[in-house]
């Protein structure tokens, strides 16, 4: 072990989990940018040189080339550490609090390809056992989830309009995870011990924003100079529910049911997230309902590009919520 805090074993782990294309890579790059812009002490650091390089590369792509970061096939190999400010532990008998070591939260990222656990309707080039058992990635996903106490689940409403496979992707892994947790005696209150941040991604897409607008779920922070519309965490659950209504398969509301089944209500929080945010005109510096898309589509063989500056929305918030929740729990011990 080296003294470098990022190389130390983190106190907790967060598993970032979502279907391919749900926006994980973009979210991670946007997280790095958003944390850099903030005044508080949170930062994100690669747990090894390869992971750092990956983060830098993706972030540069997003910032300079304004290209969406390219998908990676072997994401599971990379790990990052979210390092918080030093924790102040209250002293005995009202003595002054002393700064303790900073909170360290490991972040791992997992693609959840169709066919891995689901019905196999969308083969992802993996082995063809009907339920994907025997796929080493299945083990990896479960190990990762088991070792984490925080989950960032990315729900891509655009994918759900088109494929409607979110339920396929999440139900089986959760069932297996519950099995393992039960066996390990970690199913104390009848729920998984995990906290889960459900991020409805691509909030900047007109179809998503308009759904929120129709349901009157939008609000604006009074001190946001750009007046970007947002959905508060309290309302994000309703947005999620509403978006589930237009799912292509019609069983997206089962996603909500299964979340409630496996997670304690105090440990679920919804976020309406956009990694790239809305386009804001350089001159007016105001959100414009007539022109807010921050993405320019590419020619047939090219990727989409980002049009203006990035204005990540609810990218840091899910991490900090999980970070704060996990920091309040005794660091996991004895998992080796």
């Amino acid at each position: 072990m080296q003294p470098d805090p990022s190389r130390e074993r983190p106190d907790h782990n967060i598993a970032m989990w979502g279907a391919p294309g749900s926006g994980k890579t973009t979210l991670l790059a946007a997280l790095f940018i958003a944390l850099t812009k903030r005044d508080d002490d949170w930062k994100i650091i690669g747990s090894d040189p390869a992971s750092s390089d990956y983060l830098i590369e993706k972030t540069n792509a997003l910032l300079r080339g304004k290209l969406f970061p390219e998908a990676s096939m072997a994401l599971e190999r990379y790990h990052w550490t979210l390092i918080g400010p030093a924790v102040r532990k209250p002293g005995f008998w009202g003595r002054k609090a002393k700064p303790g070591p900073p909170a360290r939260i490991g972040i791992g990222m997992i693609d959840a390809p169709g066919g891995l656990f689901g019905t196999g309707r969308r083969p992802a080039g993996g082995p063809s056992a009907p339920d994907g058992s025997g796929d080493p990635r299945r083990q990896e996903l479960l190990d990762n989830l088991e070792q984490s106490r925080g989950i960032v689940f990315l729900y891509d409403p655009i994918r759900e309009f088109t494929f409607g496979d979110a339920f396929d992707h999440m139900h089986a892994p959760l069932t297996r995870l519950a099995e393992r947790m039960l066996a390990a005696g970690e199913f104390a209150d009848g729920k998984l011990p995990h906290h889960i941040a459900v991020c409805v991604t691509k909030f900047d897409d007109p179809r998503v924003l308009e759904t929120a607008e129709r349901r009157r779920l939008l609000s604006v922070d009074i001190d946001d100079p750009y007046r970007l519309p947002r959905v508060t965490s309290e309302d994000a659950r309703e947005l999620f529910h509403e978006l589930c209504q237009v799912s292509a398969s019609g069983n997206a509301d089962m996603v909500l049911k299964s979340l409630d089944q496996f997670f304690h209500p105090d440990r679920i929080r919804f976020f309406a997230t956009s990694s790239i945010g809305f386009y804001v005109d350089r001159r007016t510096k105001r959100f414009d309902w007539d022109d807010f898309q921050n993405m320019v589509p590419g020619e047939a063989d090219e990727d989409s590009r980002i049009r203006g500056r990035l204005h990540p929305i609810n990218v840091v918030e899910p991490m900090l919520w999980l970070g704060q929740r996990l920091a309040a729990i005794r660091p996991a011990t004895g998992v080796s």
């Binding site: 007109p206 350089r282 022109d291 898309q293 049009r307």
Partner: protein
């Protein structure tokens, strides 16, 4: 000499005529000094009153047998009114002739409900006066062509000349436009409406030079309308069906000066752009062959919007405006040499500045210029929406609204919209169906001459308008 009876009689007959329903008959039987005169009045399909009369002298009625019982039957027969009819008016000329007294008595007995009028002078002149002064029981309308829509077959409609109740002497003014009308000339047809079908009242025609006319129509008498402000008209032998059949199935243009506006999308693949430009070239040449010096040509090129301020886009270019065909073809040559522009980021890959091009055309054409215009757009991409919508195509940076602009062009008189689209009609974006409202052709399969004919740029046979057009410029 004052004739109080005459006025009373006129009123009585006018009232009976006014009460006359379409299918009924009004009979007036005049018993005069020398015999019996019968008048039969009815209305025709146009509600116009007509009268017929016949007469029988006393010798006719009595024959050689002398004045006997059979004379009574003869008197009733010449009156020809059915015995029960209420629509009988008896007119007694003052005469001391006992035969007249006898005949009147027989008629009164046969028609107990009939009104009896007394007259000094023969009643025929009075009846003619009443008929000539009969107020209209149907509105009289002039048949005109509606050819203002950008697309499709010109339609017929009618414009009211004289409303119900109008009396002879009434006048009305109409602003009309006449187009080339063919061998029979322009027909001024007056119709009345009863139900959904018009009934032809009169048609008069004359060879009228194309142009605007201030025409005054005067109601001379029921069924007769006189037009002034036109060359002398003469009766037209054609019936309604023949007139309607003479209506062209395509819009105006071709016959007179025409302004062809070609707008070409010059972004995308090089060979695609070259193909579009070559279609525009063929179209200009084709129209120039058909119209010669009457053709004015404008040429515009447009590409894609840029969404990066540091990469200024190519704005819509007006390569030629209202020039002769030769000059426009030279400008087209320069575009061909230049080839495709605006490829790759930051230019939008799925839409083009179609809406900016429309804005330029709308502004440049103006509303005042009456020259017929044909706007031919050659391209493939849809326009940018005015604001973010479900299409997710980024909105036009200038917020031009293509729908409103096309509507504005459609409302401009004699403006025809045609398009040649990269995609076949069933795959073309909905905007192309509006931008090619009169004719939408597929780039790979277009028959340029046929399209030119559809747009009125070359007429396979001259387009004729058998009726005048309403001039709505005022």
């Amino acid at each position: 000499m004052p004739e109080p009876d005459r006025d009373l009689n006129r009123k009585a007959i006018a009232q009976a005529l006014a009460d006359l329903a379409d299918t009924d008959r009004l009979t007036l039987v005049e018993v005069a000094a020398d015999g019996v005169v019968t008048f039969l009045l009815h209305r025709d399909d146009n509600g116009r009153p007509h009268g017929r009369s016949w007469s029988a002298t006393w010798p006719d009625l009595a024959g050689e047998r002398g004045w006997d019982a059979r004379t009574r039957e003869a008197v009733l027969r010449t009156a020809r009114a059915s015995s029960s009819s209420a629509d009988v008016i008896l007119v007694a000329a003052s005469s001391a002739d006992p035969r007249a007294e006898q005949a009147l008595a027989w008629l009164r007995a046969a028609h107990p409900a009939a009104q009896v009028l007394r007259t000094e002078a023969p009643i025929a002149a009075l009846i003619r006066e009443v008929i000539a002064d009969d107020p209209l029981t149907r509105s009289y309308e002039l048949v005109v062509v509606l050819a203002d829509s950008a697309a499709g077959r010109p339609r017929l409609t009618s414009r009211q000349l004289f409303p119900l109740g109008s009396r002879p002497g009434a006048r009305t003014r109409v602003a009309l436009r006449c187009e080339a009308a063919g061998a029979h000339g322009t027909a001024f047809a007056v119709v009345t409406w009863q139900g959904p079908k018009p009934r032809l009242l009169s048609v008069q025609s004359a060879p009228v030079a194309p142009g605007r006319y201030e025409v005054t129509a005067e109601l001379v008498r029921p069924g007769r309308v006189r037009f002034t402000g036109l060359p002398a008209l003469s009766p037209d032998p054609r019936d309604w069906d023949q007139l309607v059949a003479a209506l062209p199935d395509r819009p105006a243009g071709g016959a007179g000066p025409t302004h062809l506006v070609c707008a070409v999308e010059v972004c995308g693949a090089d060979d695609q752009v070259a193909e579009r430009l070559s279609r525009a070239r063929q179209m200009i040449s084709s129209a120039s062959g058909g119209l010669g010096d009457l053709l004015r040509v404008s040429l515009l090129a447009y590409a894609a919007h840029s969404y990066d301020l540091s990469a200024p886009e190519f704005p819509v270019r007006v390569a030629a405006w209202e020039t002769g065909a030769g000059e426009a073809l030279n400008a087209l040559g320069a575009l061909e040499e230049q080839g495709a522009v605006a490829r790759g980021y930051p230019y939008h890959p799925h839409a083009a500045q179609l809406e900016d091009m429309l804005a330029v055309v709308v502004e440049r054409l103006g509303r005042a210029d009456p020259t017929p215009a044909v706007i031919l757009t050659v391209g493939g991409r849809p326009p940018h929406p005015a604001r973010t919508d479900q299409s997710r195509i980024l909105p036009c940076p200038h917020r031009h609204d293509w729908r409103k602009l096309i509507t504005a062009l459609g409302q401009r008189q004699s403006t025809v919209l045609g398009a040649i689209c990269d995609q076949p009609a069933d795959q073309a974006h909905q905007a192309w169906h509006r931008i090619g409202a009169a004719a939408l052709a597929h780039l790979e399969a277009v028959d340029v001459r046929g399209l030119a004919a559809d747009l009125g740029l070359v007429a396979p046979s001259p387009v004729h308008f058998p009726f005048p057009l309403l001039d709505e410029t005022e």
